[in-house]
Point group: C2
Chain length 210, copies 2
DNA sequence: ACCCCTTCGTAACAAATGTTACAAATAACT
DNA sequence: AGTTATTTGTAACATTTGTTACGAAGGGGT
């Protein structure tokens, strides 16, 4: 575990902090597709991603989803930090996008380190920064773009996170993430294929111009 | 100034911190409608609102706006904090919604206080919390709601911030804030009037069922 | 090969939103 | 009072997105 930790975080944290993390953090291996955080749940620890990716979704009162962004190696969940520090319920849902290794840091330690380690403090603020930016990107996408552009952004983002230009996904799954209907997605994907930007197969979409 | 400061913040900050704020902070009085922060600008100080209200907008590449949320008395701008701490450019535009008094805190002090004062630290994290929540509300509104509901939320929010159930605003201004067209807003407002929810006059909208 | 289940393509239609155009109403100014 | 500029109402139409329905295609298991 300490090696994986150093791999992902040694250029951010000093050794002393890395050791503390290793001693109090709990390693977790999560399979693809598992729900890590549910809405309305209290959060008592924050995750440090060693490997893999996590999908963060907003859920409305009808249970409809909207993809906010992905967390990757070296990321942490600013919304979790937020829930921890302010003792509030989760407003989002987190699902592993692929098999993921993470270290869970208990709330009290993470508060303690904010005062103790400058590097931890900047990591926390840095991660707020990235997440705020991603939220703004999501707002841009939903508020300013039409479906076809949104879809293209979605596909590119997904390909990047999975480090694979061939996406194993159904039209229905995309529709859920983007909060629209399967028929709409199929229609637009077909158009993208005709325009030579993607290649469609059952259960897979190949990106042609990344 | 120290009185206005105590009025708005004494139940959050201890006396020592209040005195420090008073001694290093710069008081600013800003008239309604002035732009405080532009996109692409660097931010070197953060504002504490004593009185008034500030409108925070997202701007896309075409210069189109979208209202994110309002800041009120006792609030600070998490995005400013963010820009300061991470030395990044502003991604948003801030315009005073009405005449506003605020105290500007220089960057280095605000960083110093994070370690020095627990109350300042929780204020900062508390404000990240509120802003993240408001961003999520904005996303909900744009992603999950149809225009008519969005418009009603907008009107209610605006009435709350201005502490007045009669809004002095044109249809065009609403359209800019919501990133849609004037005709769409006029149409929906008319429907709301017919439904008995508002009263329309030139340059003003009266809310009837707050 | 056959059946079953999921996924995908497409048409036809409905609803929501955006656009253009123009007239009417209101406020502001001289 | 009369002129002007701004704001609002409304129609007519275009575009985008959402919905329903159904058949075709593909994959897995037996």
């Amino acid at each position: 575990m300490i090696e994986a930790l150093k791999d992902a975080y040694s250029f951010i944290f000093e050794d002393e902090l890395l050791n503390e993390i290793a001693s109090v953090g709990k390693l977790k291996n999560v399979r693809e597709g598992e729900i890590i955080i549910r809405t309305e749940e209290y959060v008592n620890s924050i995750p440090l991603l060693l490997q893999g990716a996590i999908k963060i979704l907003r859920v409305d009162e009808n249970g409809d989803d909207l993809l906010l962004y992905f967390l990757e190696r070296g990321d942490t969940c600013a919304i979790s930090i937020n829930c921890c520090l302010n003792r509030t319920k989760s407003e989002i849902k987190a699902i592993t996008e692929k098999d993921t290794d993470l270290i869970m840091i208990p709330l009290d330690k993470m508060e303690e380190w904010i005062v103790k380690y400058k590097s931890w403090r900047s990591f926390i603020f840095q991660s707020y920064n990235t997440r705020l930016k991603e939220m703004l990107d999501t707002i841009d996408s939903v508020a300013f773009l039409k479906m076809d552009k949104r879809l293209l952004l979605y596909l590119k983002d997904k390909a990047k996170v999975n480090q694979n230009e061939v996406l194993q996904i159904t039209h229905q799954e995309i529709a859920y993430d983007m909060h629209t209907s399967r028929v709409v997605i199929s229609r637009l994907l077909k158009k993208l294929e005709i325009d030579g930007k993607i290649d469609l197969k059952r259960n897979s979409i190949a990106m042609l111009d990344l």
